[in-house]
Protein backbone atom coordinates (compact mmCIF):
# COMPACT_ATOMS: atom_id res chain seq x y z
CA UNK A 1 0.00 0.00 0.00
CA UNK A 2 1.46 3.31 -1.12
CA UNK A 3 0.34 6.77 -0.06
CA UNK A 4 1.57 10.12 -1.31
CA UNK A 5 1.00 12.66 1.41
CA UNK A 6 0.94 16.18 -0.01
CA UNK A 7 1.63 18.80 2.62
CA UNK A 8 0.23 22.27 2.03
CA UNK A 9 1.86 24.50 4.61
CA UNK A 10 -0.62 26.76 6.38
CA UNK A 11 0.96 29.75 8.12
CA UNK A 12 -2.16 31.76 8.82
CA UNK A 13 -5.91 31.37 9.18
CA UNK A 14 -8.56 34.05 8.57
CA UNK A 15 -12.30 34.23 8.14
CA UNK A 16 -13.07 35.31 4.58
CA UNK A 17 -15.61 35.38 1.77
CA UNK A 18 -14.56 32.09 0.26
CA UNK A 19 -13.04 29.00 1.83
CA UNK A 20 -9.69 28.58 0.12
CA UNK A 21 -5.95 28.29 0.57
CA UNK A 22 -3.92 31.15 -0.84
CA UNK A 23 -0.26 31.90 -0.21
CA UNK A 24 -0.19 29.83 2.94
CA UNK A 25 -3.33 31.37 4.41
CA UNK A 26 -6.44 29.31 5.01
CA UNK A 27 -9.51 31.50 4.49
CA UNK A 28 -12.71 30.20 6.01
CA UNK A 29 -16.22 31.18 4.96
CA UNK A 30 -17.90 31.17 8.35
CA UNK A 31 -21.50 30.86 7.10
CA UNK A 32 -20.71 28.04 4.72
CA UNK A 33 -18.85 26.14 7.41
CA UNK A 34 -21.70 26.63 9.88
CA UNK A 35 -24.08 25.35 7.23
CA UNK A 36 -21.87 22.30 6.77
CA UNK A 37 -21.56 21.38 10.45
CA UNK A 38 -24.94 22.62 11.68
CA UNK A 39 -28.31 20.92 11.74
CA UNK A 40 -27.81 18.67 14.76
CA UNK A 41 -30.92 19.19 16.90
CA UNK A 42 -28.90 18.26 19.99
CA UNK A 43 -26.91 21.52 19.74
CA UNK A 44 -28.54 24.93 20.25
CA UNK A 45 -25.53 26.97 19.24
CA UNK A 46 -22.26 26.53 17.37
CA UNK A 47 -19.73 29.35 17.56
CA UNK A 48 -16.53 29.66 15.58
CA UNK A 49 -13.34 31.42 16.59
CA UNK A 50 -9.70 31.51 15.58
CA UNK A 51 -6.62 30.99 17.74
CA UNK A 52 -3.18 31.56 16.23
CA UNK A 53 0.31 30.76 17.54
CA UNK A 54 1.68 33.51 19.78
CA UNK A 55 -1.69 35.01 20.67
CA UNK A 56 -2.63 35.47 24.32
CA UNK A 57 -5.45 32.98 23.98
CA UNK A 58 -6.49 30.04 26.10
CA UNK A 59 -8.77 27.31 24.71
CA UNK A 60 -10.58 25.13 27.24
CA UNK A 61 -11.96 22.59 27.84
CA UNK A 62 -10.63 21.00 24.66
CA UNK A 63 -12.42 17.90 23.46
CA UNK A 64 -10.64 16.92 20.27
CA UNK A 65 -8.13 18.30 17.78
CA UNK A 66 -8.46 17.29 14.13
CA UNK A 67 -6.26 17.95 11.12
CA UNK A 68 -7.92 18.93 7.82
CA UNK A 69 -7.15 16.34 5.14
CA UNK A 70 -8.65 15.42 1.80
CA UNK A 71 -8.42 12.42 -0.47
CA UNK A 72 -7.09 13.51 -3.87
CA UNK A 73 -6.65 10.14 -5.55
CA UNK A 74 -7.33 6.54 -4.60
CA UNK A 75 -10.12 4.68 -2.89
CA UNK A 76 -12.25 6.04 -0.11
CA UNK A 77 -12.43 9.32 1.71
CA UNK A 78 -11.24 10.82 4.99
CA UNK A 79 -12.70 9.23 8.15
CA UNK A 80 -13.96 6.06 6.47
CA UNK A 81 -16.93 4.41 8.11
CA UNK A 82 -17.90 7.70 9.70
CA UNK A 83 -17.95 10.49 7.11
CA UNK A 84 -17.03 8.41 4.06
CA UNK A 85 -17.87 4.90 2.88
CA UNK A 86 -15.93 2.10 4.54
CA UNK A 87 -13.50 1.62 1.64
CA UNK A 88 -10.00 0.63 2.70
CA UNK A 89 -8.04 3.89 2.80
CA UNK A 90 -4.31 4.61 2.92
CA UNK A 91 -3.38 4.45 -0.76
CA UNK A 92 -3.26 6.97 -3.59
CA UNK A 93 -2.87 10.64 -2.74
CA UNK A 94 -3.98 12.64 0.27
CA UNK A 95 -3.49 16.34 0.82
CA UNK A 96 -3.14 17.81 4.27
CA UNK A 97 -3.38 21.40 5.48
CA UNK A 98 -0.23 21.16 7.58
CA UNK A 99 -0.26 23.83 10.24
CA UNK A 100 -4.04 24.07 10.51
CA UNK A 101 -6.29 22.32 13.03
CA UNK A 102 -9.89 22.16 14.15
CA UNK A 103 -10.27 22.30 17.92
CA UNK A 104 -13.61 21.36 19.49
CA UNK A 105 -14.67 22.50 22.90
CA UNK A 106 -17.76 22.06 25.05
CA UNK A 107 -18.58 21.23 28.66
CA UNK A 108 -19.57 17.62 28.16
CA UNK A 109 -19.11 16.71 31.81
CA UNK A 110 -18.59 19.03 34.76
CA UNK A 111 -15.02 17.90 35.40
CA UNK A 112 -13.84 18.02 31.84
CA UNK A 113 -10.27 18.95 31.11
CA UNK A 114 -7.92 20.01 28.36
CA UNK A 115 -6.15 23.35 27.99
CA UNK A 116 -4.36 24.77 24.98
CA UNK A 117 -2.48 28.04 25.59
CA UNK A 118 -1.38 29.74 22.38
CA UNK A 119 1.49 31.58 24.12
CA UNK A 120 3.32 31.66 27.45
CA UNK A 121 4.75 28.73 29.39
CA UNK A 122 1.72 26.48 28.74
CA UNK A 123 2.24 26.75 24.99
CA UNK A 124 5.53 24.89 25.23
CA UNK A 125 3.74 21.80 26.51
CA UNK A 126 1.20 21.34 23.73
CA UNK A 127 1.78 20.81 20.01
CA UNK A 128 -1.49 22.62 19.30
CA UNK A 129 -0.09 26.02 20.28
CA UNK A 130 1.88 25.87 17.03
CA UNK A 131 -1.11 25.22 14.77
CA UNK A 132 -3.50 27.79 13.33
CA UNK A 133 -6.68 26.69 15.06
CA UNK A 134 -10.28 27.00 14.04
CA UNK A 135 -12.04 26.60 17.36
CA UNK A 136 -15.62 25.35 17.57
CA UNK A 137 -17.62 25.99 20.72
CA UNK A 138 -20.77 23.83 20.91
CA UNK A 139 -23.66 24.51 23.27
CA UNK A 140 -26.03 21.59 23.82
CA UNK A 141 -29.76 21.62 24.43
CA UNK A 142 -30.74 21.38 28.08
CA UNK A 143 -30.41 18.01 29.78
CA UNK A 144 -28.66 16.38 26.84
CA UNK A 145 -27.10 13.11 27.96
CA UNK A 146 -23.32 13.23 28.07
CA UNK A 147 -22.75 10.50 25.50
CA UNK A 148 -25.12 12.22 23.07
CA UNK A 149 -23.29 15.48 23.67
CA UNK A 150 -19.93 13.83 23.02
CA UNK A 151 -21.23 12.29 19.80
CA UNK A 152 -22.65 15.60 18.58
CA UNK A 153 -19.38 17.46 19.23
CA UNK A 154 -17.32 14.64 17.72
CA UNK A 155 -19.31 14.76 14.48
CA UNK A 156 -19.14 18.57 14.27
CA UNK A 157 -15.35 18.45 14.58
CA UNK A 158 -14.90 15.74 11.98
CA UNK A 159 -17.21 17.46 9.50
CA UNK A 160 -15.43 20.78 9.98
CA UNK A 161 -12.03 19.18 9.36
CA UNK A 162 -13.29 17.41 6.25
CA UNK A 163 -14.84 20.66 4.97
CA UNK A 164 -11.60 22.60 5.47
CA UNK A 165 -9.60 19.73 3.97
CA UNK A 166 -11.57 20.09 0.73
CA UNK A 167 -10.00 23.53 0.33
CA UNK A 168 -6.70 21.75 -0.27
CA UNK A 169 -7.93 19.28 -2.86
CA UNK A 170 -6.75 21.20 -5.91
CA UNK A 171 -3.81 22.99 -4.32
CA UNK A 172 -0.30 21.94 -5.31
CA UNK A 173 1.39 20.67 -2.16
CA UNK A 174 4.54 22.40 -0.90
CA UNK A 175 6.04 19.03 -0.06
CA UNK A 176 5.16 15.45 -0.96
CA UNK A 177 6.16 12.50 1.16
CA UNK A 178 5.68 8.92 0.05
CA UNK A 179 4.97 6.09 2.47
CA UNK A 180 4.85 2.50 1.30
CA UNK A 181 4.29 -0.84 2.96
CA UNK A 182 4.34 -3.95 0.81
CA UNK A 183 2.06 -6.92 1.44
CA UNK A 184 3.76 -9.09 4.05
CA UNK A 185 5.26 -11.77 1.78
CA UNK A 186 6.52 -9.24 -0.76
CA UNK A 187 8.11 -7.28 2.05
CA UNK A 188 9.95 -10.38 3.22
CA UNK A 189 11.29 -10.96 -0.30
CA UNK A 190 12.33 -7.33 -0.60
CA UNK A 191 14.14 -7.17 2.74
CA UNK A 192 15.13 -10.76 3.56
CA UNK A 193 18.06 -9.75 5.77
CA UNK A 194 16.36 -7.06 7.80
CA UNK A 195 14.78 -7.61 11.23
CA UNK A 196 10.98 -7.52 11.13
CA UNK A 197 9.45 -4.84 13.31
CA UNK A 198 5.79 -4.00 13.96
CA UNK A 199 3.99 -1.40 15.99
CA UNK A 200 1.45 -2.48 18.62
CA UNK A 201 -0.91 0.48 18.81
CA UNK A 202 -3.05 0.42 21.96
CA UNK A 203 -6.33 2.31 21.73
CA UNK A 204 -8.33 3.68 24.66
CA UNK A 205 -11.67 1.82 24.70
CA UNK A 206 -13.19 1.74 28.16
CA UNK A 207 -16.61 3.26 27.73
CA UNK A 208 -18.23 6.69 27.87
CA UNK A 209 -15.73 9.46 27.07
CA UNK A 210 -12.99 6.83 26.71
CA UNK A 211 -13.67 5.46 23.22
CA UNK A 212 -11.83 5.15 19.93
CA UNK A 213 -13.27 4.21 16.56
CA UNK A 214 -11.70 2.15 13.76
CA UNK A 215 -13.44 2.49 10.41
CA UNK A 216 -16.48 3.57 12.42
CA UNK A 217 -16.40 0.53 14.74
CA UNK A 218 -16.20 1.09 18.47
CA UNK A 219 -12.75 -0.42 19.10
CA UNK A 220 -13.79 -2.05 22.37
CA UNK A 221 -15.69 -4.50 20.15
CA UNK A 222 -12.70 -5.55 18.06
CA UNK A 223 -10.12 -8.24 18.56
CA UNK A 224 -6.59 -7.08 17.71
CA UNK A 225 -6.00 -6.88 14.00
CA UNK A 226 -3.50 -5.80 11.39
CA UNK A 227 -3.49 -2.52 9.54
CA UNK A 228 -1.27 -0.87 7.00
CA UNK A 229 0.34 2.18 8.65
CA UNK A 230 -0.95 4.51 5.93
CA UNK A 231 -4.57 3.69 6.79
CA UNK A 232 -4.14 5.81 9.92
CA UNK A 233 -3.03 8.76 7.78
CA UNK A 234 -6.48 8.87 6.12
CA UNK A 235 -8.34 8.90 9.41
CA UNK A 236 -9.20 5.19 9.78
CA UNK A 237 -8.76 5.66 13.55
CA UNK A 238 -10.41 8.56 15.34
CA UNK A 239 -10.91 9.70 18.89
CA UNK A 240 -14.06 9.80 21.00
CA UNK A 241 -11.86 10.08 24.04
CA UNK A 242 -12.33 13.11 26.30
CA UNK A 243 -10.62 12.09 29.52
CA UNK A 244 -6.96 12.44 30.45
CA UNK A 245 -6.12 15.41 28.25
CA UNK A 246 -2.38 15.03 28.54
CA UNK A 247 -2.03 11.45 27.36
CA UNK A 248 -5.07 10.69 25.21
CA UNK A 249 -4.55 10.66 21.47
CA UNK A 250 -6.66 13.33 19.79
CA UNK A 251 -7.70 12.47 16.22
CA UNK A 252 -4.89 14.79 15.05
CA UNK A 253 -2.34 12.46 16.68
CA UNK A 254 -3.81 9.33 15.14
CA UNK A 255 -3.20 10.69 11.63
CA UNK A 256 0.24 12.05 12.59
CA UNK A 257 1.52 9.19 14.72
CA UNK A 258 5.26 9.84 15.22
CA UNK A 259 5.94 6.15 15.97
CA UNK A 260 4.70 5.28 12.49
CA UNK A 261 6.53 8.26 10.99
CA UNK A 262 9.83 7.28 12.63
CA UNK A 263 9.47 3.58 11.79
CA UNK A 264 9.03 4.57 8.14
CA UNK A 265 12.20 6.70 8.29
CA UNK A 266 14.35 3.60 8.82
CA UNK A 267 12.10 1.13 6.99
CA UNK A 268 14.08 -0.82 4.41
CA UNK A 269 17.35 0.47 5.87
CA UNK A 270 17.70 -0.82 9.42
CA UNK A 271 14.58 -2.97 9.62
CA UNK A 272 11.47 -4.06 7.78
CA UNK A 273 8.47 -2.21 9.25
CA UNK A 274 5.82 -4.81 8.44
CA UNK A 275 2.74 -3.06 9.80
CA UNK A 276 0.58 -2.08 12.74
CA UNK A 277 -1.22 -4.35 15.17
CA UNK A 278 -4.06 -2.36 16.70
CA UNK A 279 -5.44 -3.46 20.04
CA UNK A 280 -7.82 -2.12 22.67
CA UNK A 281 -7.84 -1.31 26.38
CA UNK A 282 -11.06 -2.65 27.84
CA UNK A 283 -12.21 -2.66 31.46
CA UNK A 284 -12.54 -6.37 32.17
CA UNK A 285 -9.55 -8.60 32.83
CA UNK A 286 -10.94 -11.22 30.46
CA UNK A 287 -10.95 -8.69 27.62
CA UNK A 288 -7.40 -7.66 28.55
CA UNK A 289 -6.25 -11.29 28.53
CA UNK A 290 -7.95 -11.98 25.19
CA UNK A 291 -6.58 -8.90 23.48
CA UNK A 292 -3.02 -9.38 24.76
CA UNK A 293 -3.17 -13.05 23.75
CA UNK A 294 -4.06 -11.89 20.26
CA UNK A 295 -1.33 -9.24 19.97
CA UNK A 296 1.21 -11.90 20.99
CA UNK A 297 -0.31 -14.40 18.60
CA UNK A 298 -0.20 -11.94 15.69
CA UNK A 299 3.37 -10.95 16.56
CA UNK A 300 4.40 -14.59 16.52
CA UNK A 301 2.45 -15.27 13.33
CA UNK A 302 4.30 -12.45 11.58
CA UNK A 303 7.61 -13.90 12.78
CA UNK A 304 8.58 -10.54 14.25
CA UNK A 305 11.92 -9.72 15.80
CA UNK A 306 10.75 -6.66 17.72
CA UNK A 307 7.74 -4.50 18.46
CA UNK A 308 7.14 -1.02 19.77
CA UNK A 309 4.08 -0.84 22.04
CA UNK A 310 2.39 2.47 22.86
CA UNK A 311 -0.19 2.97 25.60
CA UNK A 312 -3.07 5.44 25.80
CA UNK A 313 -4.34 6.75 29.12
CA UNK A 314 -3.66 6.14 32.78
CA UNK A 315 -4.08 3.36 35.33
CA UNK A 316 -5.86 0.30 34.07
CA UNK A 317 -4.22 0.43 30.59
CA UNK A 318 -0.92 -0.04 32.44
CA UNK A 319 -2.12 -3.61 32.93
CA UNK A 320 -2.84 -4.01 29.20
CA UNK A 321 0.61 -2.59 28.47
CA UNK A 322 2.31 -5.07 30.76
CA UNK A 323 0.26 -8.01 29.50
CA UNK A 324 1.19 -7.14 25.91
CA UNK A 325 4.83 -6.75 26.88
CA UNK A 326 5.01 -9.96 28.90
CA UNK A 327 3.25 -12.17 26.35
CA UNK A 328 5.08 -10.79 23.30
CA UNK A 329 8.43 -11.08 25.12
CA UNK A 330 7.59 -14.69 25.99
CA UNK A 331 7.41 -15.39 22.25
CA UNK A 332 11.07 -14.40 22.00
CA UNK A 333 10.28 -10.99 20.50
CA UNK A 334 11.95 -7.83 21.81
CA UNK A 335 9.69 -5.03 23.07
CA UNK A 336 10.03 -1.30 23.63
CA UNK A 337 7.20 0.40 25.52
CA UNK A 338 6.05 4.01 25.34
CA UNK A 339 4.02 5.37 28.24
CA UNK A 340 3.88 8.42 30.49
CA UNK A 341 4.12 8.72 34.25
CA UNK A 342 2.01 9.65 37.25
CA UNK A 343 4.98 9.74 39.58
CA UNK A 344 3.79 12.35 42.08
CA UNK A 345 4.61 16.05 42.17
CA UNK A 346 8.30 15.37 42.83
CA UNK A 347 8.47 12.57 40.25
CA UNK A 348 9.85 10.17 42.85
CA UNK A 349 6.92 7.76 43.20
CA UNK A 350 6.14 4.58 41.30
CA UNK A 351 5.20 5.79 37.79
CA UNK A 352 2.80 3.11 36.62
CA UNK A 353 0.01 1.12 38.25
CA UNK A 354 1.49 -2.13 36.96
CA UNK A 355 4.95 -3.48 36.18
CA UNK A 356 6.70 -6.56 34.88
CA UNK A 357 10.33 -7.58 34.62
CA UNK A 358 9.89 -8.08 30.87
CA UNK A 359 9.41 -4.30 30.59
CA UNK A 360 13.12 -3.55 30.41
CA UNK A 361 13.00 -0.93 27.64
CA UNK A 362 10.57 1.89 28.36
CA UNK A 363 10.29 5.39 26.95
CA UNK A 364 8.36 8.00 28.93
CA UNK A 365 6.38 10.97 27.65
CA UNK A 366 6.83 12.86 30.93
CA UNK A 367 5.39 13.13 34.45
CA UNK A 368 1.74 14.23 34.33
CA UNK A 369 1.75 15.15 38.05
CA UNK A 370 4.31 17.91 37.65
CA UNK A 371 2.83 21.22 38.84
CA UNK A 372 2.83 24.13 36.42
CA UNK A 373 1.65 27.71 36.52
CA UNK A 374 -0.20 29.21 33.61
CA UNK A 375 -0.54 33.00 33.54
CA UNK A 376 -3.86 34.65 32.68
CA UNK A 377 -4.59 35.09 28.99
CA UNK A 378 -6.28 38.07 27.38
CA UNK A 379 -8.82 35.89 25.67
CA UNK A 380 -10.49 32.62 26.63
CA UNK A 381 -12.30 30.52 24.05
CA UNK A 382 -14.66 28.04 25.68
CA UNK A 383 -15.21 28.08 29.41
CA UNK A 384 -12.66 28.99 32.09
CA UNK A 385 -14.69 27.75 35.08
CA UNK A 386 -13.77 24.06 34.65
CA UNK A 387 -10.17 24.92 35.66
CA UNK A 388 -11.05 24.13 39.26
CA UNK A 389 -12.61 20.83 38.37
CA UNK A 390 -10.40 19.29 35.75
CA UNK A 391 -8.04 16.39 36.26
CA UNK A 392 -4.90 17.89 37.68
CA UNK A 393 -6.71 21.03 38.71
CA UNK A 394 -7.78 21.43 42.31
CA UNK A 395 -9.77 23.74 44.52
CA UNK A 396 -8.24 27.15 43.95
CA UNK A 397 -6.54 26.20 40.69
CA UNK A 398 -8.22 29.11 39.01
CA UNK A 399 -7.02 32.28 40.67
CA UNK A 400 -9.06 35.51 40.68
CA UNK A 401 -6.74 37.06 38.08
CA UNK A 402 -7.42 34.19 35.63
CA UNK A 403 -4.08 32.43 36.12
CA UNK A 404 -4.07 28.70 36.78
CA UNK A 405 -1.90 26.47 38.95
CA UNK A 406 -2.38 22.82 38.10
CA UNK A 407 -0.71 19.60 37.16
CA UNK A 408 0.68 19.07 33.70
CA UNK A 409 -2.15 16.64 32.98
CA UNK A 410 -4.50 19.59 32.32
CA UNK A 411 -2.70 20.39 29.07
CA UNK A 412 -3.85 18.73 25.87
CA UNK A 413 -1.17 16.42 24.53
CA UNK A 414 1.47 17.32 27.15
CA UNK A 415 2.61 13.77 27.94
CA UNK A 416 1.60 12.02 24.72
CA UNK A 417 2.30 8.31 24.88
CA UNK A 418 3.01 8.13 21.17
CA UNK A 419 5.68 10.78 21.53
CA UNK A 420 3.75 13.62 19.90
CA UNK A 421 5.33 16.12 22.26
CA UNK A 422 8.71 17.20 23.56
CA UNK A 423 8.85 15.73 27.05
CA UNK A 424 10.74 12.64 28.06
CA UNK A 425 13.33 11.52 30.61
CA UNK A 426 16.93 10.50 30.30
CA UNK A 427 19.02 8.52 32.73
CA UNK A 428 22.58 9.75 33.27
Amino acid sequence: MRLELGKIFIKNIEFGGQTKVENGTLYVNKDELLQEIGGDSRLTKIELDIAKPGEETRIMPVKDVIEPRVKVEGPGGIFPGVLSKVDVVGSGKTNVLKGAAVVTTGKIVGFQEGIIDMSGPGADYTPFSKTNNLVIVCTPIENLQQHEHEHAVRMVGLKAAAYLGEAGKNVKPDEVKVYETLPFVEGLKMYPELPRVAYVYMLQTQGLLHDTYVYGVDAKRIVPTLMYPTEMMDGAILSGNCVSACDKNPTYNHVNNPVIEDLYERHGVDFNFVGVIITNENVTLMDKERSSNWTAKLAEYLNLDAVIISEEGFGNPDTDLMMNCKKITAKGIKTVLITDEYAGRDGASQSLADADKAADAVVTGGNANEVIELPAMKKVIGYLEPADIIAGGFDGSLRPDGSIVAELQVITGATSEIGFNKLSATQY
Binding site: G110, G315, N316, T319, Y342, D354
Partner: protein, 131 residues
Protein backbone atom coordinates in the same frame (compact mmCIF):
# COMPACT_ATOMS: atom_id res chain seq x y z
CA UNK B 1 -33.52 -10.37 34.71
CA UNK B 2 -33.22 -12.91 37.50
CA UNK B 3 -30.79 -12.31 40.35
CA UNK B 4 -27.28 -13.28 39.28
CA UNK B 5 -25.25 -14.92 42.04
CA UNK B 6 -22.10 -15.58 40.06
CA UNK B 7 -20.87 -12.01 40.30
CA UNK B 8 -20.45 -9.62 43.18
CA UNK B 9 -20.51 -5.87 42.82
CA UNK B 10 -18.77 -3.58 45.28
CA UNK B 11 -19.70 0.08 44.79
CA UNK B 12 -19.99 3.43 46.52
CA UNK B 13 -21.92 4.87 43.58
CA UNK B 14 -25.60 5.32 44.47
CA UNK B 15 -26.58 5.14 40.77
CA UNK B 16 -25.00 1.71 40.39
CA UNK B 17 -26.60 0.54 43.62
CA UNK B 18 -30.05 1.74 42.55
CA UNK B 19 -29.85 0.23 39.08
CA UNK B 20 -28.20 -3.09 39.84
CA UNK B 21 -28.76 -4.23 43.43
CA UNK B 22 -31.83 -6.23 42.39
CA UNK B 23 -29.95 -7.95 39.56
CA UNK B 24 -26.58 -8.77 41.16
CA UNK B 25 -25.24 -9.42 44.64
CA UNK B 26 -24.25 -5.85 45.42
CA UNK B 27 -22.52 -4.45 48.47
CA UNK B 28 -22.76 -0.72 48.96
CA UNK B 29 -19.77 0.91 50.61
CA UNK B 30 -20.50 4.03 52.65
CA UNK B 31 -17.17 5.58 51.99
CA UNK B 32 -14.56 6.79 49.54
CA UNK B 33 -12.88 5.29 46.45
CA UNK B 34 -10.13 3.82 48.65
CA UNK B 35 -12.71 2.16 50.91
CA UNK B 36 -14.15 0.36 47.87
CA UNK B 37 -10.67 -0.88 46.94
CA UNK B 38 -9.98 -2.11 50.48
CA UNK B 39 -13.33 -3.92 50.59
CA UNK B 40 -12.47 -5.54 47.25
CA UNK B 41 -9.06 -6.58 48.57
CA UNK B 42 -10.75 -8.33 51.49
CA UNK B 43 -13.11 -10.13 49.12
CA UNK B 44 -10.17 -11.24 46.97
CA UNK B 45 -8.42 -12.69 50.00
CA UNK B 46 -11.65 -14.55 50.77
CA UNK B 47 -11.53 -16.13 47.30
CA UNK B 48 -13.27 -13.72 44.92
CA UNK B 49 -11.64 -12.88 41.61
CA UNK B 50 -11.45 -9.51 39.86
CA UNK B 51 -13.57 -9.20 36.74
CA UNK B 52 -12.98 -5.48 36.16
CA UNK B 53 -9.78 -3.57 36.67
CA UNK B 54 -10.04 -1.52 39.89
CA UNK B 55 -8.66 1.60 38.16
CA UNK B 56 -10.97 1.41 35.14
CA UNK B 57 -11.37 4.70 33.32
CA UNK B 58 -8.82 7.45 33.00
CA UNK B 59 -10.55 9.54 35.66
CA UNK B 60 -7.96 9.68 38.41
CA UNK B 61 -8.46 8.13 41.87
CA UNK B 62 -8.14 11.53 43.56
CA UNK B 63 -10.58 13.03 41.10
CA UNK B 64 -13.68 10.83 41.03
CA UNK B 65 -15.10 9.85 44.43
CA UNK B 66 -16.93 6.86 42.89
CA UNK B 67 -15.82 3.36 42.12
CA UNK B 68 -17.71 0.24 41.12
CA UNK B 69 -15.91 -3.06 40.79
CA UNK B 70 -17.18 -6.43 39.58
CA UNK B 71 -15.87 -9.62 41.20
CA UNK B 72 -16.63 -13.24 40.55
CA UNK B 73 -17.47 -15.29 43.62
CA UNK B 74 -15.01 -18.06 44.37
CA UNK B 75 -13.12 -19.83 47.10
CA UNK B 76 -9.46 -19.83 46.00
CA UNK B 77 -7.30 -16.72 46.25
CA UNK B 78 -6.40 -15.58 42.73
CA UNK B 79 -2.84 -14.22 42.71
CA UNK B 80 -3.33 -12.03 39.65
CA UNK B 81 -6.25 -10.33 41.40
CA UNK B 82 -4.13 -9.87 44.53
CA UNK B 83 -1.33 -8.21 42.57
CA UNK B 84 -3.69 -5.91 40.67
CA UNK B 85 -5.67 -4.78 43.72
CA UNK B 86 -2.48 -4.15 45.71
CA UNK B 87 -0.93 -1.98 43.01
CA UNK B 88 -4.27 -0.19 42.52
CA UNK B 89 -4.47 0.61 46.23
CA UNK B 90 -0.89 1.87 46.13
CA UNK B 91 -1.73 4.13 43.14
CA UNK B 92 -4.85 5.46 44.83
CA UNK B 93 -3.02 6.28 48.08
CA UNK B 94 -0.26 8.00 46.12
CA UNK B 95 -2.76 10.25 44.34
CA UNK B 96 -4.63 10.99 47.57
CA UNK B 97 -1.40 11.86 49.38
CA UNK B 98 -0.43 14.41 46.77
CA UNK B 99 -3.87 15.91 46.47
CA UNK B 100 -7.04 14.65 48.16
CA UNK B 101 -10.33 14.49 46.27
CA UNK B 102 -12.00 17.93 46.42
CA UNK B 103 -15.50 18.60 47.71
CA UNK B 104 -17.33 18.60 44.42
CA UNK B 105 -20.61 20.35 43.65
CA UNK B 106 -23.72 18.19 43.25
CA UNK B 107 -23.65 18.60 39.48
CA UNK B 108 -20.07 17.39 39.23
CA UNK B 109 -20.82 14.50 41.59
CA UNK B 110 -23.72 13.47 39.33
CA UNK B 111 -21.39 13.54 36.31
CA UNK B 112 -18.83 11.37 38.11
CA UNK B 113 -21.61 8.93 39.03
CA UNK B 114 -22.73 8.87 35.41
CA UNK B 115 -19.27 8.18 34.01
CA UNK B 116 -18.73 5.47 36.63
CA UNK B 117 -21.98 3.70 35.82
CA UNK B 118 -21.29 3.89 32.09
CA UNK B 119 -17.83 2.35 32.53
CA UNK B 120 -19.44 -0.26 34.74
CA UNK B 121 -22.07 -1.01 32.09
CA UNK B 122 -19.37 -1.26 29.45
CA UNK B 123 -17.91 -4.07 31.60
CA UNK B 124 -21.29 -5.73 32.18
CA UNK B 125 -21.92 -5.80 28.42
CA UNK B 126 -18.71 -7.73 27.79
CA UNK B 127 -19.53 -10.51 30.28
CA UNK B 128 -20.38 -13.49 28.07
CA UNK B 129 -23.10 -14.91 30.28
CA UNK B 130 -25.02 -11.66 30.78
CA UNK B 131 -27.63 -10.70 28.24
Amino acid sequence: MAMNNKYLIITNNPSVWESYNSKFCTEFVEGAYIDVLVKVRNKIHEGSQLITHPLMGSVKPNETPYRSIILQNGSNTDMQSVEIIESSIESCLRFQKDRPTPNWSDKVLKDFQFVDIRLFESAISSLPDII
